[in-house]
C-alpha cells in the first residue's frame, strides 16, 4: 500500500514553545487514522501540517511521496479534502451557492449531481436555497462536510467532524465516512468522543505535548481506552 502522508522529524514552534516535536508518522493509502489526546496536545496543528496549511519549522511533511505527478500544487489540492476549525462557508450565500462556488474552485466534474448527492446524504435538500447565516450550527457543520468531500478527495482530513451534530446526523456521518472508507479514501480525523471514532478507525494515535505517545492498530487497542479514555496512558487518572 502506498504512503499518502509522510512526516519526518516535523517540528512546529510558536515562539519558543514547540507545538509539534520531531514527529515521525506515515499514513498509508486507505488507512483510517484517529488522532486523540487532550487539549493542546498538537492534534489540530498536526492535521494542519498534513493539509499543508502550515509549514514545519524543522523536518519534512510530504503528501503522496510515491507519486511524482502529485507534487504539483493543483493535483495535490484536488486530492485532499479538509474540514478545519472554520467552516469556509459564506453566510451571505445560500447552501447551494456555497457548494457551487467551491465546486468551481475545485473544478468538480458533474457538479450538479455531486451537489445533489451531498445535500441528500446530509439531509440538506430542504434548506438548499436558505442562506448559510440562517442555518443552525449542526446544519452548517453538515454543509461544511459536504463542501469538504464535494471533489471526492483521496485524503480526507477532519477536525472534530461530529462536533455540534445531533445523534441522527452523527449516525449519518458515520455511515457516510464508512462508505468513503470502503472506497479506499484515506481518513485522518480528530475527535474528543472516542465512542464515535471506534467503529471507523484502523489506527489510533494518542498525542500529548506535541508527540505521539501511543499508537495502536485497531486490533491492538485496549478495551479500556474506549471505556475509560486515554487518561491512564498519560498518567492523569
Amino acid at each position: 500500500m502506498s504512503v499518502l502522508v509522510h512526516l519526518e522529524g516535523a517540528t512546529v514552534k510558536r515562539g519558543v514553545q514547540r507545538i509539534i516535536r520531531e514527529l515521525d508518522l506515515m499514513v498509508h493509502e486507505g488507512q483510517h487514522l484517529a488522532l486523540i489526546g487532550p487539549n493542546g496536545a498538537g492534534k489540530t496543528t498536526l492535521l494542519r501540517l498534513m493539509a499543508q496549511l502550515l509549514r514545519p519549522d524543522a523536518g519534512k511533511v510530504t503528501l503522496f511521496p510515491d507519486e511524482p505527478k502529485m507534487q504539483k500544487r493543483g493535483r495535490l489540492r484536488s486530492a485532499v479534502g479538509v474540514l478545519m476549525e472554520g467552516s469556509y462557508l459564506y453566510e451571505g450565500l445560500t447552501v447551494e451557492e456555497n457548494l457551487q462556488f467551491y465546486g468551481v474552485l475545485f473544478d468538480v466534474p458533474d457538479l450538479k449531481r455531486r451537489i445533489e448527492e451531498g445535500l441528500t446524504r446530509m439531509e440538506l435538500t430542504s434548506v438548499r436555497h436558505k442562506r448559510v447565516g440562517t442555518l443552525s450550527k449542526g446544519m452548517r457543520k453538515r454543509l461544511a462536510i459536504v463542501r469538504a468531500t464535494l471533489h471526492q478527495p483521496r485524503l480526507l482530513l477532519l477536525d472534530e467532524p461530529f462536533d455540534g451534530l445531533d445523534e441522527r446526523s452523527i449516525g449519518e456521518l458515520q455511515l457516510w465516512l464508512e462508505e468513503l472508507a470502503s472506497k479506499r479514501c484515506t481518513l485522518v480525523l480528530i475527535s474528543h468522543d472516542l465512542s464515535l471514532i471506534q467503529p471507523l478507525c484502523q489506527r489510533v494515535c494518542l498525542m500529548d505535548q506535541g508527540r505521539i505517545v501511543q499508537s495502536w492498530r485497531r486490533d491492538e487497542v485496549p478495551p479500556s481506552l474506549w471505556e475509560q479514555g486515554y487518561g491512564h496512558w498519560l498518567g492523569r487518572v
Binding site: 493539509a51 496549511l53 509549514r55 500544487r73 493543483g74 493535483r75 495535490l76 489540492r77 484536488s78 485532499v80 479538509v82 478545519m84 476549525e85 472554520g86 467552516s87 469556509y88 462557508l89 459564506y90 453566510e91 451571505g92 450565500l93 451557492e97 462556488f101 467551491y102 468551481v104 474552485l105 475545485f106 473544478d107
Partner: protein
Amino acid sequence: MGFFLRSSLAIVKKDLRIQFRQKSLLLSMIVFALLIQVLLHFSFQANQAALHHVAAGLLWLPIFLSALLGIGRLMAIEEAEWNWEGMWTAPVDPGSIFFGKMLGSLLLVFLVEWVSVPLFFILFNPPAPQSLPLLIGCLLMGTWGYVSLACLFSVMAQASRLGDLLLPILLFPVSVPLVLAVVRLTQIALFPTMPGQEWVWLAVLGAYDILFTLLPILLFEYLLEV
C-alpha cells in the same frame, strides 16, 4: 489560463452576489463618497477661483476614500469563517484568488464613480472636459491601479494585528506616483489651458497598473501563507 480566469470570475460572482444581497457595503461606499463631495463643495464654495487648481483632487478624493472603506470590508468577508484558507485549500492558482478579489473590488468602485463623478460636475461646475476619452481612460486606469494596490495592502493588513488601521498607512505612501499621475491627467483632461504631457503620465499610470497587478498575482501564494 482558462481555469485561472474561471476561478477568478467565480470569486467576483461570489463577492458581488453577497454585496448586492446585503447592499450595505455598496450603499455605504456611495453615501460616503457623496458626503465627502458635498463637504468639499461647501469648503470651496466661497473660492471658485481656486477650483482650477484643486478640481482633480476634488474628483479623486471621494473615490480614493470610499474605495479604502469598501475594499477593507470586502477583504474582511474572507476572515469570518477562515475563507482565505478555504480558497487556499482549492487547486487554484493563488494569483487567481487575488485577481478575483481585485476585479470584484474594482467593479464596486466603478459603481461608486458612476454616481460620484457626475455629482462632481454638478456641484463644482467645471468646464466641459477638453478630452472626454482621456478623462475616462484616466478614471479607468487610475481606479485599476489604486484598487489593485489597496487589495494587496488590505490582505497584508488583515494578516497583521492592526488590521484595517494599517491599510491607509501602507497604501497612501506607495500610491503617491499613481495619485500624481491621475491628478495631472485629470487636470489636462479638464482644463484646456493646462500644458499637455498626457503621454508621459499615461505611461506612468500604465506601468504602475501593470506592476501592481502582476506583482500581487505572482506573490499572493506567499502572502496567503503569512
